[in-house]
């Protein structure tokens, strides 16, 4: 299932069973040369836990349809640059570099000597064609690039893009748009419905075979950095629709690279082949408690501070993600990923400790005092909070249950509300909630993270849907810092604006950040090494987006 980045999978019935496996010594069966991988001597096959086949894979290699295209499409088409989801650094691919000539004009220099897999040369005109296609078919423009771009033109090897308003951080979204060959796509009648079963790209792999239960990509010998690509074949066997089966599949050692939440991973995965099986679960996003800032008492910063000080975040993180990841920094940055942006003036990296005395003081400033075990406001009523979240996000539910217990202990009548996702999404988008669990950030770009969560232009009135800023935070000062960050091209100015935003996050608590959600990377070093790790965190271990391309250019034969 694509639906599974950093929240853990819903069903973990097999916990007990898998834990029992620990001692048993039956090592994982062959990984590098798993089913169907015989391609002659010297050939190396990489097996990646693939897409969800429900019950069969549907062939689709249209890179502009990220929700229905096969994951392997990320190895066939390349973007201009890839932006690290960890710290936002750019790695050049089809562009050899980019620069802002001013804060509204972005110039990419196109790489020379790149060929499409059918032998035709890649050129700046392909880049212009791709963006114009997104303009012509807004259904393909899922990232809304044309809401920010005003024009694109090519001259020689340079492609110049102009923005409607200064937006330096948006370069990341533009740079990561997959590039299409004009000579193929110009004759596609309806690219929105096009399933592209004979994909022609510039990437390191081309489509080999496709079956409803597995597809294989084979190495593109004409790839412009072919010397960096080790596996001659990449297999993507379909996942089951059932999480328990997927966990058993991963445990049994069928994959070189899997992405799956596993309970007790040291026993259920590492111990199955201690020599080769490794895992890396870095933070991939922040989970927070969203309070509706249009309602009293949540609109009072003192009340929010009181809530934040009342919570024991390490315990919440432990209940939610089994201790794999820790408490979240109230700076709004994912740490350690974004350490380089952290404002040094924040105490203790922005971590907020549980402090009953300080919380009581904050609540008192908000007009709430403890009377007979209840936190009572000036109107004599007990403070209450109903926290809404989708019923199948098991880690959110576990965290929220702990939050309500801790809030009850300080006298707030806290409850959880567990509807279906659709209802949850309607509630938070229209602003009809008291409190809600939600994701915060995780794009690797501090600007995008803060802008989505705090920009007042997203703060639609209650009853009108918005896709961001669900808490409806409005602050002219924060808006100003955001626009400064959007137009800043030099690092010092970017750092200054980012620090202001962290301060605002820390002092005004628009969202009570709780813990980091994980990115569940499981690797075998039997056939390949060079996987992303805490020591070499070049990307998140996600095997369903362009991190695939980043990882494949780092792998070495073991």
């Amino acid at each position: 299932m694509r639906a599974r980045s950093y929240r853990k999978s819903a069903v973990v019935c097999t916990v007990a069973m898998l834990t029992a496996v620990g001692a048993s010594s039956c090592a994982g069966t062959g990984s590098g040369t798993a089913a169907g991988g015989s391609t002659g001597s010297g050939a190396t096959t990489l097996t990646i836990q693939g897409d969800a086949g429900n019950p069969a894979l549907v062939e689709n290699f249209n890179p502009m349809q990220p929700s229905s295209a096969m994951h392997g499409v990320n190895l066939i088409y390349e973007p201009l640059e890839i932006v690290s989801p960890i710290d936002g650094t750019f790695t050049p691919f089809l562009a050899s570099g980019y620069k802002f000539t001013d804060s509204k004009t972005l110039v990419f220099t196109i790489r020379q000597g790149v060929k499409w897999s059918d032998g035709k040369p890649f050129a700046a005109s392909d880049v212009v064609f791709t963006f114009n296609l997104l303009k012509k078919f807004p259904a393909l423009d899922g990232n809304g690039v044309w809401q920010h771009m005003s024009a694109i033109s090519a001259s020689g090897n340079d492609v110049t893009i102009t923005f409607k308003t200064p937006n330096v951080p948006f370069a990341g979204v533009i740079a990561q748009t997959p590039m299409l060959p004009e000579h193929v796509w110009s004759s596609v009648a309806d690219p929105v419905k096009f399933t592209n079963t004979k994909p022609i790209g510039t990437g390191p792999y081309t489509l080999g075979t496709f079956a409803p239960t597995q597809y294989a990509l084979k190495k593109n010998p004409g790839y412009w950095q072919a010397d960096k690509i080790v596996p001659s074949q990449v297999l993507f066997p379909a996942q089951a629709s059932n999480q328990n089966t997927n966990q058993l599949d991963v445990s049994s050692g069928k994959f070189d690279w899997a992405y799956n939440f596993l309970p007790n991973v040291k026993t259920t995965y590492v111990a199955r082949d201690p020599q080769h099986n490794i895992y890396w679960f870095p933070p991939g996003g922040t989970i927070g408690l969203y309070l509706n800032l249009t309602k009293a008492p949540y609109n009072d910063v003192n009340f929010r501070t009181g809530i934040s000080l009342s919570l024991n975040r390490p315990t919440i993180a432990n209940k939610a993600v089994n201790g794999y990841l820790g408490e979240a920094s109230m700076s709004g940055l994912i740490l350690p990923n974004l350490n380089k942006w952290l404002d040094p003036s924040l105490s203790d990296q922005g971590l907020v400790k549980q402090d009953a005395a300080a919380a009581t003081a904050a609540f008192a400033k908000a007009g709430f005092t403890k009377q007979g075990g209840k936190l009572v406001g000036k109107d004599g009523k007990q403070a209450s909070m109903s926290i809404v979240m989708p019923n199948n996000f098991s880690d959110w539910v576990a965290a929220a249950t702990e939050v309500t217990n801790e809030l009850k202990a300080i006298g707030i009548n806290a409850t959880t509300d567990l509807p279906q996702y659709a209802q949850y999404s309607t509630q938070i988008q229209s602003g009809s909630f008291n409190a809600a669990m939600g994701g915060f950030g995780g794009t690797g770009s501090p600007y995008t993270d803060f802008n989505n969560a705090l920009n007042s232009s997203f703060a639609a009135p209650v009853g009108t849907a918005t896709a961001n800023n669900f808490e409806r935070f409005k602050s002219p000062a924060v808006d100003k810092s955001l626009s400064q960050l959007a137009s800043a091209t030099d690092p010092a100015a970017q750092q200054a604006a980012t620090s202001q935003l962290q301060q605002a996050m820390f002092t005004q608590t628009p969202v009570v950040l709780l813990y980091y959600g994980g990115s569940w990377g499981l690797f075998s070093t039997k056939a390949f090494t060079g996987w992303p790790s805490a020591a070499d965190p070049y990307t998140l271990p996600a095997n369903y987006n362009n991190s695939l391309l980043t990882v494949l250019t780092h792998l070495k034969k073991s």
């Binding site: 980045s5 089913a35 089966t245 989505n452």
Partner: protein, 327 residues
């Protein structure tokens, strides 16, 4: 022949009711296909923008016409067997999607239903004949125990022990990954090894119903005068048990068997889900998850139709089996 006429009229009315209900039910579900698609995106943690929402609405071609005109075109489409394109499998028609899944379910659930019926009925005959003795207790207790297991739990247990721990059987799917379904002996053997665990699960769970039905009918029949007469005539035990008692006790079980054959098409959503079997049950699960109205409706229609047709056939069979009805 008024009996037959009545049954035909009843069949047509039930059919219309089922078809209309089939139209209404998916539309009463909360949420829309767009919401379901967005939920998938949102759970990757990255906020969903309005641009993405619009893009998905256009891609799915979500109907936003009135209910009445939807009902009209729905009836027309059913008459022409045109179920449109599903949201989950946009590159093929719904009929093709179902056509690919149907044989898997027919074989797996069909074979296991017949096996469960035969084994369960024989065990029931045995238990009924030896009623009150230890063999009876073993059979009835055993089938109660297994029958009480939730099918998906039993499936998971088998999966864990036989497929994961001892790697005797494959973990998932209907055939090896990468293979294309064909009629070669190799593929057939592969498919059989993949269907053993789900098949055995289905048989074990269904067994107890047949055992109990048959055992209780047997005990009733064994009390009848003609059985005592047969015994008094000195016939062999087996002849009395099988030809006299069992044959008469079988009737209610045959009716139930007809109905359970009708239920085959619906497959077994949970068991197919556990084993990721490429059948209709799994397909239904996917369709519901994705709010895939066209696929769901076609599936429900196939399921209700097969059930109604089986009921109709059983009704007709009754005319032959039970002379009293013919009057």
């Amino acid at each position: 022949m008024t009996y037959l006429k009545r049954k035909v009229v009843l069949f047509v009315i039930t059919l219309w009711a089922a078809i209309t209900l089939n139209f209404a039910l998916p539309r009463l579900m909360p949420g829309s296909p767009v919401d379901a698609a967005l939920a998938k995106l949102a759970s990757t943690g990255i906020p969903v923008t309005n641009a993405q929402r619009q893009a998905i609405e256009v891609q799915l071609g979500v109907p936003n016409t009135g209910l009445l005109s939807q009902y009209g075109s729905y009836l027309k489409n059913i008459a022409t067997l045109n179920f449109g394109t599903s949201y989950s499998f946009p590159s093929e028609t719904v009929a093709q999607t179902i056509g690919k899944a149907l044989p898997w379910t027919l074989l797996l659930v069909g074979v296991s239903t017949i096996c469960a019926f035969i084994i369960g009925t024989l065990l029931g005959v045995y238990a009924g004949w030896r009623r009150g003795r230890s063999a009876d207790s073993v059979v009835t207790l055993g089938s109660t125990l297994f029958g009480a297991f939730p099918p998906f739990w039993l499936g998971l247990l088998m999966l864990y022990v036989l497929a994961f721990k001892f790697t005797l059987f494959p973990l998932k799917g209907g055939y090896a990954p990468g293979a294309t379904p064909n009629l070669s002996p190799e593929f057939f053997a592969d498919a059989v090894s993949h269907s053993v665990l789900p098949g055995v699960t289905l048989v074990i769970v269904a067994l107890s119903g047949w055992v109990f039905g048959m055992r209780n009918n047997m005990i009733n029949t064994l009390g009848e005068d003609f059985v005592t007469f047969a015994e008094a005539n000195g016939l062999r035990t087996r002849t009395v048990a099988l030809l006299y008692a069992a044959r008469n006790a079988l009737l209610p079980n045959v009716t139930a068997f007809g109905l359970s054959l009708g239920g085959i098409i619906g497959g077994s959503v949970l068991v197919e889900g556990v084993f990721s079997y490429p059948g209709l049950g799994n397909l239904l699960y996917v369709a519901v998850n994705n709010h895939d109205f066209p696929l769901m409706q076609a599936l429900f229609l196939v399921i209700t139709l097969s059930m109604l047709v089986m009921i109709f056939i059983v009704d007709l069979l009754y005319v032959r089996l039970d002379p009293r009805i013919r009057q």
